[in-house]
Symmetry: C2
DNA sequence: CGGGTCGTTGACCGTGATCAAGTAACGTGG
DNA sequence: CCACGTTACTTGATCACGGTCAACGACCCG
């Protein structure tokens, strides 16, 4: 069975035999987590990185007034923890939002990649850089958009991301997050998320049914928040080899 | 004369001779820019990265209502552009805020680093990861703090950053940014920045005089926004060699 | 001296948070 | 299978924070 990480990376670059072997080593172990289970917490010793084999997860930070800020959402094929690799202790919490399987591997094995697979290391670097740009997009959304535009941005981001690895079914994409959690990603309350989602539906821009959401007029939505798809293609021409 | 980049990197790790040579190659060329000069613009072909030799710069994105979002501020010793390395065209604009000198080098030379200096490549990765966490901190600030707390966060961030390379003079740190620009970093207007800064001064938490700001009660300020210094120390134990 | 940028201060207003109540969906155990 | 408890979503009423608009003063440089 093909690894999700490999399939995400192959989307950007055809990997040679030795790179594949290097990656396989990282996916040796696997562990399963229940729904809403905490994988690691802020302040714990940061020893492992994780590859998502199945399930959705998110990293978050608790705020003062028992709300929280959701930092990133992870899906199958994502590498978790490289943005924290510079610190001895975790700077975020990681929790599953549904039942998930992860492959943990120790931090120092990342250094083997740098020593033995420079092209792979550079690809990881490029992906980290892609995610940095995505974070910048989200910052722009949070700091300058209306609540409605923020939601549109969120939906397009999720959609672009899912389209990278698989197509979206007829009844729309399935987002296993509560409205509270969506709000926590955008700096909104669950109340506003509910209101704006129904407003978007009334205006015919989306259709929703349970956890499934269908985007009805994508180009209008893209115009609303000047969305750019950062997932589809990255520049790999500069990579070694 | 010692390079600023080397002195920033040395703050984290003692570099061996070959690493120093690899870095020297990147700093071969240099070019000077006037105050408020545009270095590159969104959409231009992304061919160069830059090392800051002197001056302050910032990258930004224009918003709809002729405002803009300032993404990052760069100071001497910083590496500019690695967060965009994954894209063929620049995703942000870069402009100086005062007269500056930069060392540009072509993107593909970064790949030489990955091939020939794995430890250095991993250190760059760690710094990119540090900056990712800093971005997360700022996201938390923007999405959940009051305007006053945002400003406190901004001041502490600047202070921590400057302390990494040099000490802060008696009359306070000198921030060559207008209140408009500070607002653009935090998602606030110049009006609010002005109001809150004077309010902080009235409360005795800071003192300001022109572009100089002195933090009077650092521990109170840190408590106000739960600030964490991410610059001072990073984990380099996992690096190759 | 004059023009321009930047910072300050005041009055008003709009968006989204807050508080609250009610409904719907779901899982568990009797 | 229903009774119950819990969680998620919806909808309404009110409020506060920070944005907007505007006027004025300080300062700098030509």
């Amino acid at each position: 069975m093909k690894s999700c990480l490999v399939s995400q990376l192959s989307h950007y670059l055809t990997l040679d035999r030795t790179s594949l072997e290097g990656l396989a080593k990282l996916e040796r172990d696997e562990r399963s987590y229940k729904k809403r289970e905490r994988v690691f917490s802020i302040g714990e010793e940061n020893r492992f990185l994780y590859i998502v084999k199945s399930g959705w997860l998110y990293s978050y930070i608790d705020l003062a007034d028992n709300r929280r800020s959701i930092v990133s959402v992870f899906q199958p094929g994502d590498l978790i923890g490289y943005s924290e690799v510079a610190f001895e202790r975790y700077a975020t919490n990681l929790s599953t939002s549904e039942q998930s399987v992860l492959c943990p591997f120790p931090k120092h094995e990342l250094s083997d990649i740098f020593e033995q697979h420079p092209a792979l290391a550079a690809l990881f670097f490029a992906i980290a850089s892609r995610d940095q740009i995505i974070m910048i997009d989200r910052m722009r959304a949070i700091s300058s958009m209306s609540s409605r535009e923020k939601l549109v941005y969120f939906l397009l981001d999720m959609s672009a991301r899912m389209l990278m690895t698989h197509s979206i079914p007829e009844k729309g994409m399935m987002i296993p997050m509560s409205q509270q959690e969506i709000g926590d990603m955008l700096g909104l309350t669950n109340v506003t998320v509910s209101r704006e989602l129904t407003a978007l539906q009334v205006d015919g821009l989306i259709e929703k049914e349970g956890a499934h959401i269908r985007l009805m007029d994508i180009s209008a939505l893209i115009r609303m928040c000047e969305f750019k798809d950062r997932y589809n293609k990255i520049d790999t021409t500069w990579l070694p080899k």
